[in-house]
Every structure is written in structure tokens, then in C-alpha cells.
């Protein structure tokens, strides 16, 4: 028992660190991006069809690359930002690059779900576009955004395992080293159990929070 704890502790911590720091930046970049995708639409509060089309195109390109290829492809960019391409912190860069477009699309869907009548009512009350974003779109979409963030966390967890396999540490690295190279099935199973618990906890917390803030 103690043995597993010792073996699992550091990789688990690395994974949690990778996932949450990545998700933090993903939300930081993806939320505005998703909102811009909605509001620059022809029929929305800030129509900019060209910008909309370009953004949408870039997002589609990024999303069509498998994570492992994207990660290797952007090595130079990663080195530019963190100084190295190896290690847990270095993995955060490709994780953010890969999950930001994913999250932006999720945000886009959530924001589009906000009743247009409510947006119109706020326009009629003299709200500015920025006020509509901050006081109407985001609060009204919040339950849906929370669920979208939960999905993103779980998604990034999956990516992080792949990153682990090529030197980022974490649970993915653990599974490769013990399960693949040394055929230690017990460590493999322990890793899987930890992952299942992690996903379950994230999903339940996400569902609960979304349920509490949903007043509809």
C-alpha cells in the first residue's frame, strides 16, 4: 500500500498541476475567444463577419491536429515561452494550445444558448456590448460554462497523459514506465483507479456546482 502511495504521489501531483494550470490558461484565452466567436456573428451584438470567419478557421485547423502531432509541431514555440520542451511545465504550453480552441467552441455553444430575447431586452435598456457580455451573456450561460469547463478538465487530463508519454511526467508517464516498460500490472491498475476517481470527482463537482447556480 505505502509503496503505491509513494510511486503514485509525485505523478499524481504533476498531473493535477499540469491539468489545472493548463485549464486556467485555457479558460483565460478560450472564454474571450468563444465569446468573440458569438458576438462577431452577422446577427449578433458586434457583427464582424471577416474576423469571425478567420477565427473560426484557425480554430478548426488547430482542432483537426491530433494532440501528439500538435505538441511536437509547436516545440519551438514551447521553447520560446518556457525555455525547454521537456517536463511538466513545458507540457502546459501545448496543452493550452490544444484545449483553448476546444473550450472556445464549448463557450460558443453555451453563449449561443442564452435566450436572444434577454439580450434584446438589455439592448432596449441601453446596455453597451461590454455590459451585455459581462452582465448578461456570461451570468446567463454560467451553469453551462461550468459544465463545459468540467468537460475541458477531463479532456486536458486525457491530453496530459499523452504529453506524459513523451517526457512531461505525470500519470501518463507513470503508466508508460511501469505498465509498458516493466509490465507492473499493479501500478497500471492503481493508475487507472486514480484516474477514474479523478474524473468522477471532477464530474460530480462540476454537476453539483452547475446545479446550484442554475436558477432556470
Amino acid at each position: 500500500m505505502m509503496y503505491w502511495v509513494d510511486v503514485l504521489m509525485l505523478p499524481l501531483w504533476e498531473t493535477i498541476y499540469m491539468v489545472f494550470v493548463s485549464v486556467f490558461f485555457t479558460v483565460l484565452f478560450g472564454l474571450p475567444l468563444g465569446i468573440i466567436l458569438v458576438i462577431t456573428d452577422q446577427e449578433h451584438i458586434c457583427p464582424k463577419p471577416v474576423l469571425n470567419a478567420v477565427l473560426s478557421y484557425i480554430i478548426n485547423i488547430t482542432r483537426s491536429l491530433p494532440f501528439i502531432i500538435l505538441m511536437i509541431f509547436i516545440f519551438p514555440f514551447t521553447r520560446l515561452i518556457v525555455g525547454t520542451t521537456i517536463g511538466t511545465t513545458a507540457a502546459i504550453v501545448p496543452l493550452v494550445v490544444a484545449s483553448t480552441p476546444f473550450f472556445a467552441r464549448i463557450v460558443e455553444t453555451s453563449i449561443r444558448e442564452v435566450d436572444w430575447g434577454v439580450v434584446e431586452a438589455s439592448i432596449a435598456m441601453g446596455a453597451s456590448p461590454l455590459q451585455i457580455i459581462l452582465k448578461v451573456l456570461i451570468p446567463e450561460a454560467m451553469p453551462s460554462l461550468v459544465l463545459g469547463t468540467t468537460i475541458t478538465i477531463i479532456n486536458v487530463l486525457g491530453y496530459s497523459a499523452m504529453a506524459g508519454a513523451i517526457g512531461a511526467g505525470g500519470l501518463g508517464d507513470l503508466a508508460v514506465r511501469y505498465g509498458y516498460h516493466r509490465f507492473q500490472t499493479d501500478v497500471m491498475i492503481a493508475t487507472i483507479i486514480v484516474l477514474i476517481i479523478f474524473v468522477q470527482v471532477m464530474q460530480s463537482v462540476g454537476n453539483k456546482v452547475a446545479q446550484i447556480i442554475n436558477k432556470k
Binding site: V118, E120, A121, M125, G126, A127, P139, E140, K215, K216
Partner: protein, 330 residues
């Protein structure tokens, strides 16, 4: 108060063009409750939404309080909109916010001090009789309550005009009545000008002093509600005014007349005088007394079997007695 001139609205979607409004001219006075009625698709929503420019007019001018809305830049437009309240068929409340926060919303847009917001919201809640729901969320309210929150929110900035787009169409008759009474009270107490869009004649009859009838994007009739009711000059208008007066063909054998009694004639025995004076039989086919803004109009459909020249005398006699006559069939 509101002057609309040569307003047109064309929706363009790709190569498709829908002309929703054509050459609309309207004048709404301060303190009016002005009704705009029409069938579904007539362009009512387009018209009311052009007033605060949440729909961009294709051409024309719209003056609200002597300001031409068309000339305003985005910042000026936002400022002008704060003095034009609006309520909607689907209420359009913020579901993530309480009743209090919904009503405070327009005030918070201007960074009003919290103390003033509290006072204002509380007095509005009293007006719409929802003080006990202050911390409720919209999902916990009935349709009528939601609309009252909508009204309170629309009044938060002390507007000069209130625009109502089918505000009672999602409500049952009893709740409709309550909301109409509330609008009437607001109109009386604050002298607020109200523009009402509806497809229900009952709403117009109940609260509007003036009415315009919209058909296929054009105003086909306009005037005092009482006049339009007692003498609809147009087929579409008649459709609204006389919804319940359809008579089966077999009744219509002789000369059928539609009579409207008003200005006190509703309680005079004009018909029995006609019978005595002209020595004719008058067959009453249908009749009712309607109340339009507390004034009464008597509506009677009668059949009289006489020669044409005598009929003309009877019509003349009736008109002399302030009865409006319309010959349905000779």
C-alpha cells in the same frame, strides 16, 4: 411625443426581401395609450422595435421627445433608450438574477449608488405588488408576475414612453386584465405614454384611447378607439371590430343594417320609435352593448323589409338621432 414619418422596413436575407413596413406615418401624443393592432405578420413587432431602434429602420424618421432616433450615434442611442421602457410577450427576464436584481439591472448599468437602487426597486415592487417576491428567481414566478417584474424593470429609469410588444399575449384572460389595469394605472399616475402592440381587440378596447390598424405593413386606419369601434371604415378593421357578428346567409333576406349607438343614444328607444313612425317591422338579428374605455357603444344588427325609398328615410331618421348606420345587404 412620438412622431413617425415615412418609416419603411425591409428585411434582406441573401436574395430574399421581405417588406415588413411601408411608408408608416404616425403621431402619438404625450399621455396616449396608443394601440397598434393587426394580424400575425402584419409588421407590428417590426414597427414597435423600430421606435427604439432594436430593429434598424430601412428609411424614415422617428422622433421621440423631439429627438430623431435615426440621427443618434451608438452612445447617444443607448442614452435615449434608457428613457424608452419596453416589455415583451416572453418577458425576457434574466434567469440568473433575482426579482430585485432584474429590476435593479437598468440602474446598475449606470452605476447608480446602491442606496438609491434599493429605494427605487422597493418602490417599484410596491407599485407592481410583488414586494414579497423580492428574492425570488423568475423561474419561480407565474406569467403575470414575470410580466409585472418586466414592467417594474422597464420603469426603473423613469422613462417617457413604454413600448409593449404583445405584453399580454402569453397570459390568461384574468391575468391579462390585471396587467392592463396596471398599465392604465401607470398611464394615469405618471402620465406615461404607452404604445401597445396586440392582435387582440379586447386589449385595445380596454385601455387604448387611440388605435392604428396595421395590415401588410401599412396603416389602413387610424383614430380614436371609440370612433373606430362605432364606425369601422375598412374590411380588415371590421374583421377586428366585429369578430363575433358573423351571421349565417339564410338570415339575410331583407335589408340588413348594422347600427351603432353612442353618445347617450344607447339607452334611448330609437328602434321602437322607428317602428311607430314608419310603421314597419324591425327584426333584430343580433345585438350587444360594448364598453370601450368605460364608454358604451350599442351594436345592433337588424333586418327591415321595406321599399328602398322608405329605407332611405329610415336611415336618415336614425342618423339624425346619432345612430351610425351601415347597410350590410339590400
Amino acid at each position: 411625443m412620438i412622431r413617425i414619418s415615412n418609416l419603411s422596413k425591409v428585411y434582406t436575407k441573401g436574395r430574399n426581401k421581405v417588406v415588413a413596413l411601408q411608408d408608416i406615418n404616425l403621431h402619438i401624443n404625450k399621455g396616449d395609450i396608443y394601440g397598434i393592432i393587426g394580424l400575425s405578420g402584419a409588421g407590428k413587432s417590426s414597427l414597435i422595435r423600430c421606435i427604439n431602434r432594436i430593429e434598424e429602420p430601412t428609411s424614415g424618421d422617428i422622433w421621440v421627445n423631439d429627438i430623431n432616433m435615426i440621427d443618434l450615434n451608438p452612445t447617444q442611442l443607448r442614452k435615449a433608450r434608457k428613457k424608452i421602457g419596453m416589455i415583451f410577450q416572453s418577458f425576457n427576464l434574466l434567469y440568473s438574477k433575482t426579482v430585485f436584481e432584474n429590476i435593479a439591472f437598468p440602474l446598475r448599468l449606470d452605476k447608480t449608488p446602491e442606496k438609491i437602487i434599493k429605494e427605487k426597486v422597493n418602490s417599484l415592487l410596491e407599485l407592481v405588488e410583488l414586494t414579497d417576491k423580492i428574492h425570488a428567481y423568475p423561474a419561480q414566478l407565474s406569467g403575470g408576475q414575470k410580466q409585472r417584474v418586466g414592467i417594474a424593470r422597464a420603469l426603473a429609469n423613469d422613462p417617457d414612453v413604454l413600448l409593449c410588444d404583445e405584453a399580454t399575449s402569453a397570459l390568461d384572460p384574468k391575468t391579462t386584465q390585471q396587467i392592463l389595469n396596471l398599465l392604465k394605472t401607470i398611464n394615469k399616475n405618471f402620465g406615461l405614454t404607452i404604445v401597445v402592440i396586440t392582435h387582440e381587440m379586447e386589449v385595445i378596447k380596454e385601455i387604448c384611447n387611440r388605435v392604428a390598424i396595421l395590415e401588410s405593413g401599412r396603416i389602413i386606419e387610424e383614430g380614436n378607439t371609440i370612433d373606430i369601434f362605432s364606425q369601422p371604415g375598412n374590411d380588415i378593421t371590421k374583421h377586428f371590430v366585429e369578430q363575433s357578428q358573423e351571421l349565417p346567409e339564410e338570415f339575410l333576406k331583407g335589408n340588413v343594417l348594422n347600427l351603432s349607438f353612442m353618445h347617450g343614444t344607447a339607452h334611448e328607444p330609437v328602434i321602437s320609435k322607428v317602428v311607430k313612425t314608419f310603421n314597419v317591422d324591425v327584426n333584430i338579428l343580433s345585438g350587444k352593448i360594448e364598453f370601450i374605455q368605460e364608454k358604451q357603444i350599442g351594436k345592433l344588427t337588424v333586418e327591415i323589409n321595406v321599399e328602398p325609398h322608405k329605407l332611405l328615410d329610415i336611415i336618415k331618421y336614425l342618423e339624425e338621432n346619432h345612430v351610425r348606420v351601415e347597410v350590410m345587404k339590400k
